[in-house]
Symmetry: C3
């Protein structure tokens, strides 16, 4: 803790640049998906969002990701030992983040961009989905094999809310494959993600050992509990095809909603922090939940019910507007 207060003055920038910085890319990536949806879904057309906002956020995300990645690559080249030190229970998960931050940016590309690149009406190409999924999967498998053989650190002793970053990318990849029409690879990523969600969620919820605690400055990461079911709801809906939001999707969306309420009741535990990089952890889960409920609203035909669901989605959107900025 003492060491922590001194670095900002002594250490060079690259050493202070931690892998958790990729959280920013996740935050902005999930926002592009949400904004793109707000402009295109029939359920939210009444908001009349000018197309400049999604385009601006998307461009910011596209610019930020290479900057973060190149900076981290420089750190790896200049201070490889410092990178090695980041292989710790919480931070190691963030090494997977850049790949699915890129997937989120691809999913959130505005219509005017995708129409020009892939042709009208297409939102993503399978090559893009595959290109980012392969390194994502490679990192994941490296991590999962450490868990399963318990090489370094059993999951039962090291899993925290931050561990979720290690598998939520599966749902982003499932969304990308589903968008490209590759239903079975989407199902592969989806089911492998669900498996790890069950294991990690159970582990973090029950806390088999005393040592599994998030340090207080990382409080916002608790909100990551919400995003796996929210993204699973969206992914399953997209695998089923447009306008489908069946009981399974609804179940996942409701689990996200329920966990949000559970977490919100003790918000003081989460909010007792000063501004930090961990702030992105508000943006990402809230926007994925909003996305899930916009998909839900889109599938509902009953008018009064549609308003309730749209209201929930807008609530999450508004909340992350308030907290996120």
């Amino acid at each position: 803790a003492q060491e922590r207060k001194q670095p900002p003055k002594k250490m060079p920038f690259l050493l202070r640049f931690r892998v958790t910085a990729f959280g920013m890319n996740l935050g902005i990536g999930s926002q592009t998906v949400l904004w793109q949806q707000l402009t295109t879904l029939p359920a939210t057309r009444f908001l009349h969002i000018p197309s400049g906002i999604p385009l601006g956020i998307w461009c910011a995300g596209v610019v930020l990701l290479p900057i973060t990645s190149v900076t981290y690559l420089l750190k790896f080249l200049i201070w490889p030992q410092a990178v090695r030190l980041e292989f710790r229970p919480i931070r190691t998960n963030f090494l997977i983040a850049p790949w699915w931050a890129a997937l989120l940016l691809c999913l959130g590309a505005p219509g005017e961009i995708t129409d020009r690149i892939y042709g009208p009406g297409k939102t993503i190409h399978w090559g893009v989905a595959l290109g980012f999924t392969i390194p994502l999967l490679a990192w994941e498998i490296l991590l999962y094999s450490r868990w399963i053989y318990a090489c370094e650190g059993r999951l039962g002793a090291t899993a925290t809310a931050a561990t979720q970053i290690a598998y939520v990318g599966n749902f982003a990849s499932a969304l990308a494959f589903a968008g490209a029409g590759w239903r079975d690879p989407a199902l592969f990523m989806f089911s492998f993600g669900i498996l790890h969600w069950v294991v990690v969620f159970t582990t973090v919820y029950m806390r088999p050992s005393e040592s599994q605690r998030l340090p207080p400055p990382l409080g916002p990461l608790y909100l990551l509990f919400i995003s796996p079911p929210a993204m699973a709801a969206t992914a399953w809906s997209k695998i089923q095809g447009p306008g489908h939001f069946d009981s399974l999707s609804k179940g996942f969306a409701f689990i996200a909603l329920g966990l949000f309420v559970v977490l919100a009741t003790r918000a003081h535990l989460v909010l007792r922090i000063t501004f930090s990089l961990a702030w992105w952890a508000f943006v990402f889960p809230l926007s994925t939940t909003a996305v899930a409920f916009f998909y839900y609203a889109d599938s509902v035909t009953n008018s009064s019910q549609k308003w309730v669901v749209t209201g929930i989605a807008l609530f999450f959107w508004a909340l992350f507007r308030v907290l996120g900025f």
Copy 2:
């Protein structure tokens, strides 16, 4: 332990009146559901049960619940410190019980009562379901937020079979909403209940720590393992609509049946007790399982299969008649 043998003589009644007394209400509530079903389902019409029995049991339940609640409220007013002492791993779960005992009584109201209150053919009104679900959910969320932030007692160190009382109410609420035709709120309660079932069942089954043991007098609470899947089977069937009992419902019902057989093989561990309040823990799981199999029987068209399933349901009904009284 020493303290335990003395109280009956010295302590005033209200101090001896523990929160576990609400178990009685759960027991009688689940019975009203079962009896109401025995008189109405086509599969059990051959039993020719006089309508007085369900009515009598229901009235007893309706009288008992306010008595228990008011007594406990008195305890809270007179001895608030004693209520605070009940916030212990096992007993704290029973504070949720009165709300879903009330829901069970609403679900088990005999036809002559519901016809008069809600109009002919209607069994429950959404206002009733919502009115009892809101306090139920509020208590649950309080409890779940303690689990998820591990404020007091990690689930991995405190979960026992009694922890199941904390979420089984979700299925009672799902049944009430489904009966009132509110399909999506029913799905919310159902999916949130399933999530907690997976986490708590896994935790209690694996026992990550040595300390998770039920004290011998609470042996019957082991049977609570059976009720979540049994109630989930019924709830899912009711969400699907009358006469539906699909593979998912069957799966849950079979899990309840399988767990019953597993528990029954070591019945001596459960039965080695003298009569106590914990006795209700026989009534509740067995009657929920009987209810699930009566629903199952109702959906089967094949004649010989119908007899087997009805036989299983009647077996559970008979067993709780023998054990419960």
Copy 3:
């Protein structure tokens, strides 16, 4: 450990004959299922496998099982104390193995045999499924009741990859019942198996305690992680009826595939052994996965996709040909 190096010289054969020998029967049993499938499924007809190979392997399996069983029975009669010593966390699971090795042999019986016994077109009779399921279930229930009451050894302290042997038999039994047309008993075995898969997989994956480690010579048993989802995929497909391989089956098959990749990346941990009885643990998971993907391939109508899936199935078949012999 010291004791371990001396026995081969001093101890009589029966004392050296451990219960893990039943692993051989599981290995050969799963192979008969695979070979029978290779000769009958339309997707693999192009391989033109002579019917003598499946018949030969099946006969070898049918001869081996009684030999192993009688030998072990002799051990039980002559050295009952030695059998009692095998009730240890890892080995005790193998006592369940002979029953579902028998089920696998029944499922893998070549067409010319089943046509003669049960009549043309029938592959299994419900009496056979029931006859082997009853003792299987009895053993399982004995074991599960020890887990649930935590009589000897909490699952959280003793579960290893080998624990999976205790419930994978459920899927073999589900396959047998589904083949015989008893859909609901198949669903019972399937859902009870899935329940235990979730609990045991989560436990072994998270490792709540330090002590849960497989000794290095049992490294191949790690591959058993693959077989429950693979067999669940096949069983669910068979419960649905011929030619059905829906999203749930695909999800299970993909989980098996994903876990295989995770395990394969650290193959050196698994392969660092000299030949031993544990070698069968390669044969069994790889052949069950191959079976699942052959079922999958059989349901695919799209030609290019069919080739990919058949390719995956043949890869697993080839891999176990290389490793298994």
